[in-house]
């Protein structure tokens, strides 16, 4: 029976702390969504890239003959060295025809097992005068199927008909594909001649793939070492070696994915810090409120762990529910971010067998951290003797603030401001906790805005633009929740003061003003401090991801971030007004709990 009654107190805890329960869930939800959403995008892009590399057998080396022609003997040597199936000799050259750069390939495009093209439309050439062309991209022209193309190569003129449209895995960047032999120019057309074509074209290039297809693993360190070693042996007077590190599309996709990941990591650390700080202060203050109940249970002989179990259940449920809700949003966010990369890249088909490793790891990290934060704050309370706990927590002695030493200002303040100023500094740890949380979320909003400015300035990086937008949304939500949660706690802690003021005949406006003034003071300080600290944060971020500059940040971002913080404070206080005005005045008659 005792157990049953105890469970009842657990149930009542959830009921009485429903607002705290929900706001904490919302905070966990936002942090986990953002963290795992971004983290997973990097993994998804890189895994898809690796899969693409394996499926299409993207070559690891492109050898270019400086004399313009590899001999049969050369080719035979490479085949001996790398294996018959790992070597593909082909013709590949950029030509300027009528002011446009044409890249022309010729090899067995239909059957080649190295650098498999994707046939998007039509069919591979059936006859000697048919060709396929690369699909149209932002900076690349193309032809319709059935269109005639006249090609003039080394004086050989020939008319071709376009039979199909393809995508070359080596040409995935939509904005730019630098020409190999026309420096500083991007290619305009890509044509693929089949080996049925009669034109006698030499083997200018050799594609080589290495046997071990698992080594690549999104440009892993082991792959780089292996490749670097091979390049040294392959390179000679006659041979230039290109690797996947020189492939504009694949390499830049991998780099952007890494950048996204880095942005994710840096912001995630911040999100996590703010969230944990808020969990910590929420739980500390919850324990203060439940002090007499804890004392009562202790006198009855309940063990500390048994007493704390319901608070641990509380926070664990908060974290689990928040995380589970986050799962859907995180997946959605990952998919959206993945598709934003399609602005700039022909994205490899996304892998279906996502591991959700990021999500599971982040959710577990939150569960563990929240659990231990609660456990330690709780043990701090339960370690006290029941006799100590039964006494109400000694009210902090009023303290004079620095401002009082300036009578010129202090004497002009009405007592309301005096009280607010004293309160802000009286509960120093609470003040700093609140201040840091709000500064943290202001920094996040500011950084999001700053990043967006740079992204817009460098229009190439569409995906970072999207990330910034998501970042701003998530940071703003977090900021609003932090302020709402802390204000809410503030009100429940001060019910007695509120009731007393009401009995003294204070109007609703005066009472809410009295309570909220403090929150405004802290928010304004936080908003003001958040900007310079945000500048420092952005400086660090820009250096870290080698993208963006403080000079590209628009002036309004400096203004918007603090305004947003103050606006969220205003919104929170607006929502919490009712909670104050409906306070039961009888709370003033009861003893201090």
């Amino acid at each position: 029976m005792v157990m049953k009654k105890y469970d009842k107190t657990t149930f009542r805890l959830f009921k009485s702390q429903i607002t705290r329960f929900l706001t904490l869930i919302a905070m966990i939800f936002i942090s986990v969504s953002f963290m795992s959403g971004i983290g997973e995008s990097q993994s998804k892009i890189q895994s898809s890239l690796t899969q693409y590399y394996q499926e299409q057998n993207i070559p690891d080396f492109i050898l270019k003959s400086n004399s313009g022609n590899f001999t049969d003997e050369d080719i035979e040597n490479y085949k001996q060295q790398f294996g018959e199936d790992n070597v593909l000799p082909l013709f590949n050259l950029d030509f300027e025809i009528g002011g446009k750069i044409y890249r022309i390939y010729k090899y067995d495009i239909e059957n080649s097992q190295i650098n498999k093209l994707e046939l998007l439309d039509g069919e591979y050439p059936k006859s000697a005068n048919e060709i396929v062309v690369e699909q149209k991209k932002d900076n690349l022209y193309s032809y319709e199927i059935g269109e005639n193309v006249e090609v003039d190569l080394f004086g050989f003129k020939q008319n071709f008909t376009v039979s199909g449209i393809v995508q070359n895995p080596l040409l995935i960047n939509k904005y730019k594909e630098p020409s190999t032999n026309y420096p500083d120019r991007s290619i305009d057309y890509v044509l693929y001649l089949s080996d049925k074509t009669m034109l006698p074209l030499p083997s200018t290039d050799i594609y080589i793939k290495i046997d071990d297809r698992t080594l690549f693993e999104n440009y892993s360190g082991a792959y780089k070492d292996f490749i670097d070693n091979q390049v040294i042996t392959l390179e000679s007077n006659n041979v230039t070696v290109l690797t996947l590190y020189q492939n504009y599309g694949l390499y830049s996709l991998n780099e952007y994915a890494k950048k996204v990941g880095m942005i994710g990591v840096i912001f995630s650390v911040f999100f996590m810090l703010v969230t944990i700080l808020v969990v910590y202060s929420s739980m500390t203050r919850l324990f203060d409120e439940e002090r007499s109940q804890i004392a009562c249970l202790k006198t009855l002989g309940y063990s500390s762990l048994r007493i704390l179990s319901k608070y641990l259940l509380f926070i664990t449920l908060v974290t689990i529910i928040g995380s589970l809700l986050a799962f859907g949003v995180a997946t959605g966010l990952t998919n959206i971010l993945y598709s934003t990369f399609e602005i700039q890249f022909v994205m490899p088909p996304s892998i279906e067998t996502a591991t959700f490793l990021n999500f599971v790891m982040i959710a577990c990290a939150y569960i563990l951290v929240d659990f231990f934060v609660t456990l330690f704050t709780g043990l701090n309370i339960t370690k006290n003797k029941p006799a100590t706990l039964l006494l109400p927590k000694a009210p902090p002695s009023g303290r004079r603030t620095l401002l009082e030493k300036i009578p010129f200002i202090w004497n002009r303040l009405s007592f309301k401001y005096k009280s607010s100023f004293r309160n802000v500094f009286l509960f120093r740890s609470r003040f700093f906790m609140t201040l840091i949380s709000i500064i943290g979320s202001t920094i996040l909003v500011f950084a999001g805005l700053g990043l967006l400015d740079c992204a817009i300035a460098q229009s190439e990086l569409g995906s970072i633009e999207y990330i910034s937008v998501f970042l701003i949304v998530f940071a703003a939500l977090l900021c609003a929740l932090v302020i709402y949660n802390l204000s809410n706690i503030n009100i429940s802690e001060r019910r007695r003061e509120i009731a007393t003021l009401m009995v003294l005949g204070y109007t609703n406006r005066e009472v809410t003003g009295y309570i909220f003034r403090e929150i405004y003071i802290i928010s304004i300080i936080a908003a003001i401090l958040g900007v310079p600290l945000g500048v420092g944060f952005l400086y660090f971020l820009f250096n870290y991801i080698s993208f963006g500059a403080l000079s590209s940040v628009n002036w309004w971002s400096y203004v918007l971030a603090p305004i947003a913080t103050i606006f969220f404070t205003f919104l929170s206080t607006l929502m919490l007004r009712r909670k104050i005005t409906k306070t039961d005045m009888n709370a003033s008659l009861k003893s201090v709990e």
């Binding site: 000694a394 009210p395 902090p396 002695s397 009023g398 303290r399 009405s414 007592f415 309301k416 005096k418 009280s419 004293r422 309160n423 009286l426 007695r496 003061e497 007393t500 003021l501 009401m502 009995v503 003294l504 005949g505 204070y506 109007t507 609703n508 005066e510 005045m585 009888n586 003033s588 008659l589 009861k590 003893s591 201090v592």
Partner: protein, 233 residues
Amino acid sequence: MAYLKLEHVKKVYTSQAGSYVALDDINFELDKGKFVVILGPSGAGKTTLLNLLGGMDSATEGEIIVDDSDIARYDKKKLTLYRRKDVGFVFQFYNLMPNLTALENVELATEICKDALDPKKVLEDVGLGDRLKYFPAQLSGGEQQRVSIARAIAKNAQILLCDEPTGALDYNTGKNVLKILYEVSKQQNKLVIVVTHNQALKDMADEVISIKNGKIESIVLNKNPKPIMEIEW
């Protein structure tokens, strides 16, 4: 006409569990300059009555006439103004703001009143002239209660409502506090109402209203109240 008059006052609390009659058919009249004790065991309806007199709650039926106005008909806004202007409240647990000094705690009340008395002077009157700049935590229980009384007096309200004002104080300090309240009623011509369960207090009051089970059990007028220092409990 009496300054405060209750006629057929009834208070019913209704909840999902049903309705509960907290006060029924309460009638009495009180004048300024009187020291009145409302006596009753816990659960008798004392707090409810205090809430009604203090404008913290509205009666279900009946009239509560204060200075010719029926506050039972007041809406929330008017009740707030009533609490601001017409009643001073002394709490059992003082309810001082921990972060305001003694003087500032009194100013807390006077800043919103028009005809307030000088907070400093009032604190001197209750014997706290040398404690003006002390914070509550630096004051003893009796001193804190005196600040609370000063806060109620300084508003210059005509009614002082005191909820178990000695409940949290030791014997001698309690007596001192009662003495101050008694003197306020006589010297400043206020109506001081003390709500308590302490039987001993009835000897010192001009008028004792005993309530039990939500009804008035008796109203006793004391022609010759005992001086406070002579009563014992």
